[in-house]
């Protein structure tokens, strides 16, 4: 028990003091967005990283959280502080429903991935067509800067709110990994038949995992909606977030507590850094060249750190420790 939460405390403390060191809202805005993606990725990591059920459709949960957050406020006049947990529950419910449908049908591997992808697309098309969600015009949460309205004059406050959620996600993941449930989940990932033979109720375990996973990702969606105050179907249910949510843990380290956070910060940080660096160097003369550089770095990352950056770190440590 002793030190397992210490790294989390240190990481969160470091991230928490960042706003005190920078007055640049550009940095804070970027970090808030990166942490929202990290949170979505933490959700994915529970199901995909620990449970080995690769979802390509976490946008379904992210979008439900985001639309829930926006529509509860706009259509029902519910306070955002209440709307956020409600939106999280809605996302979790959608996750449980999709999980029940697909796990009961014993879908796994690429079939499960395809089904989740299809669900996200169906949700996108429905949200795009339905008048209640604003259709293709989307929903706009009115700008009213008040703390009671979860809109803050200071960018740092919202950043800390997102960070608190990410910290909760880290603690939850750590607690889960150490609990019996975490062990069951890993057992299901490694060999479902063997796990079942040992008495693990694999269906129940997977259902709990997808519910938890989708709830966390939905929370990220809710925070996204509150940050940008505008949603349309392509943003909420678009494939971009499904990709970000699975890319971050893969880059950071699959099935590790810090993988999604490290992955999201590195991934988005790299994108932003190449954009700024090349923007200065070329003055924006060649649009998109930063994305090319970003892509190359990503390929290098995956090629030389197949177990993620955390895995790479562990390898390096092992190399250094090896007696010469």
């Amino acid at each position: 028990m002793r030190s397992s939460y210490l790294p989390i405390a240190i990481a969160v403390a470091v991230l928490a003091v960042l706003p005190l060191g920078t007055s640049s809202n550009t940095t804070l805005n970027f970090l808030s967005f990166a942490l929202i993606v990290a949170l979505a990725a933490q959700g994915w990591n529970i199901l995909g990283g620990y449970g080995g059920q690769f979802s390509f459709g976490h946008a379904a949960f992210f979008g439900t959280g985001a639309y829930g957050m926006a529509l509860l406020q706009v259509r029902f006049g519910i306070n955002p502080w209440l709307a956020l947990p409600l939106a999280t529950l809605m996302g979790a419910a959608v996750g449980a429903a999709i999980g029940a449908l697909s796990f009961r049908a014993r879908l796994r591997g690429s079939y499960f991935a395809l089904v989740t992808l299809a669900f996200a697309e169906v949700f996108r098309i429905l949200a795009n067509a339905w008048g209640f969600t604003g259709g293709a015009a989307g929903v706009l949460v009115p700008l009213r800067i008040e703390a009671a309205n979860m809109q803050f004059a200071d960018r740092a406050t919202f950043y800390w709110l997102v960070l608190a959620c990410v910290a909760a996600g880290l603690v939850l993941t750590q607690a889960m990994a150490r609990a019996r449930f975490g062990a069951w989940l890993v057992a299901v990932r490694e060999n479902e038949e063997a796990a079942r033979a040992l008495g693990v109720d694999s269906l129940a375990v997977k259902l709990r995992a997808i519910t938890l996973s989708s709830g966390i990702t939905a929370l990220a969606g809710g925070l996204y909606a509150q940050k940008f105050l505008y949603l349309d179907a392509g943003i909420a249910y678009g494939s971009w977030i499904s990709v970000e949510a699975l890319l971050a843990p893969i880059i950071g380290g699959l099935g590790t507590v810090f993988g999604p956070l490290v992955g999201a910060l590195v991934l988005l940080g790299l994108g932003e850094a190449t954009k700024i660096a090349l923007g200065h160097a070329l003055g924006g003369a060649v649009p998109g060249v930063d994305l090319v550089v970003f892509g190359v770095l990503l390929i290098l990352c995956v090629a030389f750190a197949p177990r993620g950056l955390l895995g790479l770190g562990a390898n390096v440590r092992r190399l250094l420790r090896r007696p010469v």
């Binding site: 805005n29 015009a137 989307g138 505008y230 349309d232 954009k275």
Partner: protein, 401 residues
């Protein structure tokens, strides 16, 4: 030790140089006014963003060449460019960066979702924001004091389009009775389809079918085949560039020739790239869209500059040119880079030096009330204005077959 003396020496020399140069600095230009230009130049909307940036650049160069902002002692305008990456969060991030660079105002955005998010982010810092293209009615309906739209919104474009369609059909002896609507399933296509379904039947048109397609789409054969089967008099497409080009080419290949193709806010039908690259498919396609005023002498000059770099003439360029000119006029009248003063100057502006067919600007709740679209038709490899009559440079060719 020797290094430290060398450094001291250098420092002294620099200081001396600075003192000697002082008079020159005193006589030099006042600080440049930074203008944020926000466009999506990567991602799905990259083409539009590039043409928007081109228009802004032409305007800035022109204003600077003419002596900058006179009320600020000839201060030059400096572009702070931001790539919105075709996403709302990309746009917001660039607004934050522009705030860090202390821009006086921001122009652009192009797509409605980007404009909605970016103008909201700008309003936190009271940065005046001029929307260049985004047509969503929500943009100016939110009560944000900093947000202005120079061009027409969705409501005015569609009502003008319907009005002119009826006029066109009546003048030709009502040859068109049946319609097929093809639209992209995003913000403007879906809204348009809904509106057309409501508005066309009372005007004597029968809507045979409404076909939605996603953006991007890579194949339009099924849509074309459906049109062939329905055989409508009129096809009304509302799509982005690539999809409409595909549709028009597929219809041409399959020899589907309705009496008219009447596009509304179409990404391709008033785009010279389409006209040049697919002259046959584009011929006689009509569009109701943003378009520069061909009567104004400045239009030809801007067009010549835009085309000098091997670029095509798209509406993004004159719109952004005009928006930047409008902003420069507001800064000139405000006599200050104070954001509130610029916002006030924009709100009270009656600027006529733009190249759109709008008349002097008059803003009501951020919307330029004079803004209106025009109807164009591709005729013999050129894009001609067919409505309004006041400055039409060609007669409509309808029915086309």
């Amino acid at each position: 030790m020797s290094q430290s003396t060398r450094r001291t020496l250098l420092g002294g020399a620099a200081a001396a140089g600075g003192v000697l140069a002082m008079p020159a600095i005193l006589r030099a230009q006042p600080a440049a006014v930074k203008i944020g230009i926000l466009q999506p130049v990567t991602g799905a909307l990259a083409q539009d963003g590039e043409y928007g940036r081109l228009g802004a650049q032409i305007a800035l160069d022109e204003i600077n060449a003419a002596g900058g902002i006179k009320s600020l002692g000839g201060a030059k305008l400096e572009m702070v460019f931001g790539d919105a990456r075709s996403t709302p969060e990309g746009g917001t991030q660039e607004v934050e960066r522009m705030q860090g660079e202390k821009v006086a105002a921001i122009v652009g955005g192009f797509a409605s979702p980007i404009v909605l998010a970016a103008s909201q982010a700008a309003s936190r810092y009271d940065i005046p924001y001029i929307c260049d293209v985004g047509v969503s009615d929500a943009i100016v309906g939110r009560g944000l004091a900093n947000t202005f739209r120079f061009g027409p919104g969705f409501g005015i474009v569609t009502s003008t389009a319907l009005e002119n369609l009826v006029k066109l059909n009546d003048a030709a002896g009502k040859p068109a009775k049946t319609v097929v609507i093809v639209h992209e399933d995003g913000l403007f296509g879906s809204g348009m389809a809904k509106l057309l379904n409501d508005q066309l039947p009372p005007r004597g048109f029968q809507v045979l079918e409404t076909i939605a397609h996603p953006t991007p789409s890579r194949d339009m054969s099924n849509v074309a085949l459906r049109i062939r089967a329905l055989n409508p008099d009129l096809v009304i497409p509302s799509s982005y560039y690539s999809e409409f080009v595909l549709l028009a080419r597929t219809m041409q290949q399959q020899r589907i020739r309705p009496k008219g193709v009447y596009a509304i806010l179409n990404g391709a039908a008033s785009n010279f790239r389409f006209v040049k690259e697919f002259a046959d498919a584009a011929n006689l396609v009509m569009d109701c869209n943003h378009w520069a005023d061909p009567r104004k002498p400045k239009t030809a000059a801007v067009r010549a500059k835009a085309e000098a770099g091997g670029r095509f003439w798209l509406y993004n360029t004159p719109l952004n040119y005009s928006c930047v000119a409008l902003l420069a006029d507001a800064i000139e009248r405000a006599g200050s880079t104070d954001r509130d003063k610029i916002t006030a100057a924009l709100a009270s502006s009656s600027f006529a030096g733009h190249i759109m067919p709008y008349g002097p600007t008059r803003f009501e709740k951020g919307q330029n009330m004079g803004a209106a679209p025009v109807n164009t038709q591709v005729q013999g490899g050129d894009i001609k204005v067919i409505f309004p009559d006041a400055f039409a440079d060609a007669k409509p060719v309808f029915p086309a077959t």
